[in-house]
Symmetry: C2
Subunit: 356 residues, 2 copies
């Protein structure tokens, strides 16, 4: 364990360079370069010689040196605030795979939600000469946008919108989604509906709340409560206690909760069932947002608005690669979500009298 099993002082194992290959193949270094450059021209003979020599030496071009010239790193910076909400690891995995398939790779930057942290992180991102930036669950400040714009680095916001016309964004139609959730609850006979909202500092949180409110208003209903759950499990749990913990006159208690995302919805269900002893969906119906894998597990079996991650990811990849290729116009892409009906909502239309 104390001696190296390999050569005694294997310090700098001197990379194999194109020069080395050239020497062995008996051609110029530029010939080697051409063989490894997609668009370039080289005779069959040279190509063969070079490939053979490269193989023998285990040569592979240094991407970084190449980048210095071409100005392209094929690295996409991904800024993410937290991976606790299952939606993001799933998106990250898909994003990474999709980009990988196109010859790009993802450099991950974790940001605290604090603006300051994001700013620092963005600066580092630019230092790496990334070809583009994808932000997920992170807000761009005006200053940041300006800096990226100045550096000519395209930015695509994933699952978050911003009023800035310089920014591209990919989201689901959150207003429609919030609307659909509310309509479903109304249609299934609920009348005392509360909303534990997604973080109101984020467009997603706001839009879903907005759609929800609109639908209720259209039906002549007022929400029992609208509480900001901050996309946090703890905050949502506390909101649920506040909402349901107080003693109720019969019929005053909410009969349904629409929650700003699945991650919080799980917390809401946990508190409802295990702290307050309320039956879901028997006494309270719950609707979430996202349709993360866990939502379909029988322990939760959560009715929710599905965000089509795969399609959102594809759109994001197309967008960012398009911008890298030179399409400098920002685009706003909105992808339709769908209501996924599961077991956390009870149809109360035919059981108005049965209260248990």
């Amino acid at each position: 364990m104390t001696d190296a099993t390999h050569s005694p002082d294997a310090k700098a194992p001197d990379r194999v360079t194109a020069q080395d290959v050239a020497r062995l193949a008996g051609v110029s270094q530029s010939a080697v370069s051409r063989v490894f450059t997609p668009g370039a021209s080289a005779s069959k003979a040279t190509t063969a010689k070079v490939r053979a020599a490269a193989e023998q030496l285990g040569y592979r071009p240094n991407v970084l040196a190449r980048s210095l010239i071409t100005g392209r790193t094929r690295i996409i910076g991904l800024v993410v605030a937290y991976l606790e909400n299952q939606f993001y690891p799933v998106a990250l995995e898909l994003l990474s795979r999709a980009l990988q398939a196109k010859g790009y790779h993802v450099l991950v930057f974790m940001a605290s939600n604090a603006t300051e942290g994001v700013s620092e992180v963005m600066a580092e991102l630019l230092d790496y000469q990334v070809d583009g930036i994808i932000t997920a669950s992170v807000a761009m400040t005006n200053d940041l946008t300006t800096r990226c714009d100045a550096a000519g680095i395209p930015v695509v916001m994933f699952n978050r919108g911003q009023a800035d016309p310089r920014l591209s964004e990919v989201t689901s139609d959150n207003i429609a989604g919030g609307h659909a959730a509310a309509c479903h609850l109304i249609a299934t006979g609920h009348r005392r509906i509360a909303h534990v909202m997604g973080w109101q500092g984020a467009s997603t949180g706001r839009d879903r709340a907005q759609g929800f409110s609109n639908a209720l208003a259209d039906a002549g209903l007022a929400p029992v409560a609208m509480i900001d759950g901050m996309f946090s499990r703890d905050t949502a749990a506390q909101a649920t206690r506040d909402l349901f913990g107080a003693p109720f006159d019969s019929g005053d208690r909410p009969d349904a909760v629409f929650v700003g995302n699945d991650h919080m919805a799980f917390a809401v269900m946990d508190v409802l069932r295990f702290e307050l002893g309320l039956d879901v969906p028997g006494e309270v119906s719950v609707v979430g947002y996202d349709d993360v894998p866990l939502a379909s597990w029988p322990a939760y079996d959560l009715t929710t608005i599905r965000q089509p991650v795969r399609r959102m990811v594809d759109a994001t990849v197309d967008l960012i690669l398009g911008q890298i290729e030179g399409d400098h116009d920002p685009h706003t892409i909105r992808i339709d979500g769908t209501l996924i009906q599961r077991g956390s909502v009870r149809d109360r239309n035919n059981h108005k009298d049965k209260d248990r």
Copy 2:
């Protein structure tokens, strides 16, 4: 939406170089370099002038150009197979933050479990001249190890072991963990214990099974069954059906299951409760492995062996940075896990007669 809001043809926004700063500050380009190089010396006066000029121009050194000379990219390649199991996103987040704090960044590579895929991915990794590689839930082949070794790139395996003495690894003590799980089950009066194992192609899966077997043997017990759950939710679910689905003579049914990780344990519990109508822990006790966040949520409230992710991550980061700094000896680090008792195990010692 069709016209760019910014300057009409903002094609290549020409990076600000050290040369530009030098000109503005009235110093040489190398002076600028020194000001931005940690170890270098520059007079107060120059430093001030340079910083001012840099600020004014928005200059930041090009990390890649620097890397070309120093041979250090401050990029760590992370190879991961799947982020579905919550353990990995958590680890990824911690890993990324820890590395970020030390000035490094994580380039993510998703690998299919197939060896071939890993190999391709590794090659790309080397192309980027990463300073080190961390693999999580991925196996290294002999050839791969040789290649990394030849390139002088340190590799640390996270949460997986390998017999190869050239490789460093950080795991929890899985044998001890499996042993502890079994002992707990035995101590709480279980006698018909099954094991839905972690993937037997992985050291973690094997070691946990081994510890489990040992403990049972020591107690003079034989496992009711040992089934490979492949670390997959579906496979584990099917194993559970096979195990409990058949009609049993009274007392033949397993009274406890130890599952190779939490991710599978959730599947086992779901099938037990919602498909087979068995009460956990009333009729069957379940123990998992990892202690992912979800394990503590009341819907599962899973007794499990905690893998101290934070400490494992810290060890991994120390290890890889140490190797980058020149410590070329591989290390094997094993971190103790702890049994976390929750509600998925029932003490059957005082209720031997009560079978409901």
